[in-house]
Amino acid sequence: MKTESRLEKVLAAGHLAVTSECGPPRGAMPDKVREKGRHLLGIVDAVNVTDNQTAMVRMSSLAASVILKQEGLNPLFQMVTRDRNRLAMQADILGAYSLGIDTMLCLSGDHTKFGDHPMAMNVHDIDSIQLIQMVKAMRDESKFQGGAEIKGAPKMFIGAAANPFADPFELRVLRLAKKIAAGADFIQTQCIFNVDKFEKWMEGVCARGLHKKCYILAGVTPIKSVGAARYMKTKVPGMDVPQEIVDRMASVPKEKQPEEGVAICVETMERLKKVEGVAGFHIMAIDWEEKVKEIVERAGLLPRPQV
């Protein structure tokens, strides 16, 4: 074991891991974080805490992670390279680990253009792969990125994201290979709606033996409405929502659509369980944390293993 991370223990023991997500509030509202956390307590192995997601200012990922930790959850501290340079990132990694956070996800982040501060500078001192390298060197070599020694190395279980649905498709396996070579221990994928395409990507992943070097958690999202399905299909860069999903959502009355979205999500998970190399699930129920329990239960993944 590289770390004390509960997620690492679950994965190392060969269980299908389950993670979910908590977007911190847009205000100093610690109770909101606690409320979201309560829906996930005992349901998932780790909770991703997003870092100014969609480039909108929110409570810091670090602060919200600590609040969730206090509530008995295992925060998965997300960090984007968009908002701070390598000094600030390393400082936050040391701070997070000192506050009991042992699992993180390294991302580049959505462009500021999409958020509420489009006038802000995108920092990008380093990219997501270089962030993975940095966190790994901090953990395994007790080295700061600048080369100096760290006394008290932060032992982070290192995650990264992969999007099998973005272009160019032929680079998607190669980019995953780079993230793994940089030091990613686990991967969480973009939401999977197009399972055929995901399977094709996983074939490439397995052909290179990458699933043996890193745990791959398949990302899923329950869709709340046909409007949400259409929005994701047309407006979200790098998202692949097949027309049949939109049609299926449209085929049921509005009040039944949330139920249909959950059903699609559970069916997708059942199909993904059979895909070689899938080590678990990352359920992104955006502002719908209360549905995660039902999804995990219906997917036959409750109770969570004790490790």
């Binding site: 968009r82 380093i126 270089q130 940095m134 973005a166 160019p168 190669l174």
Partner: protein, 222 residues
Amino acid sequence: MITAERKPLEELIEYVRPYKRILLVGCNECVTVCAAGGRKEVGLLASGLHMALLKSGSAIEIREHTLERQCDPEYVDELVSMIDGVDAIMSMACGCGVQELARRFKGKPVFPAVNTKFMGASERQGVWAERCQGCGDCLLGKTGGVCPIARCAKQLMNGPCGGSTGGHCEIGEDVDCAWALIWERLKELGQEERFVEIMPAKDWRPGGGSGPRKIIREDLAE
């Protein structure tokens, strides 16, 4: 070249309104090529300012001159004979030219008439696009001749983000994904293996991280 765009006339009028006599200085280099501040644009701006000020009941005398290169002290000296009696200078050069005039003519206010944009190339008639950010440590030899620092919206050095769609960047369909271009080039060159190599975190010191930059060529410096 360094590209620039003329500032809105309204902003320029406010700069010159307090003055009776100004010197409007163009540059025959980059800003001429990108049609922002060459001889022709000097003429157009002079008449624009004249007309606008006349309309508001004031008059201004504008001396026009376009230098071969406004960022070069040798050429800027040409202005010495024209500067007497001038209340202010307006420069149509890039920021380098504006600052050279300000340095040379201490007693005169100098105003920029253009917004200096980026180092770029012409994509087609009337369209210029960013190509270089002057990072001081060129990596084009590793990326198939396409720069991810200047052309990837996130300056990613190790491949496309999850927002790359159909060859364009997530920020807009009119922006190419630099990594899609890089990958195409690497394939054409049979250098696909270059993609696999991880590019380490960049040292930004040559790129301005260590403060304002200077080149001193001992063999040429006096």
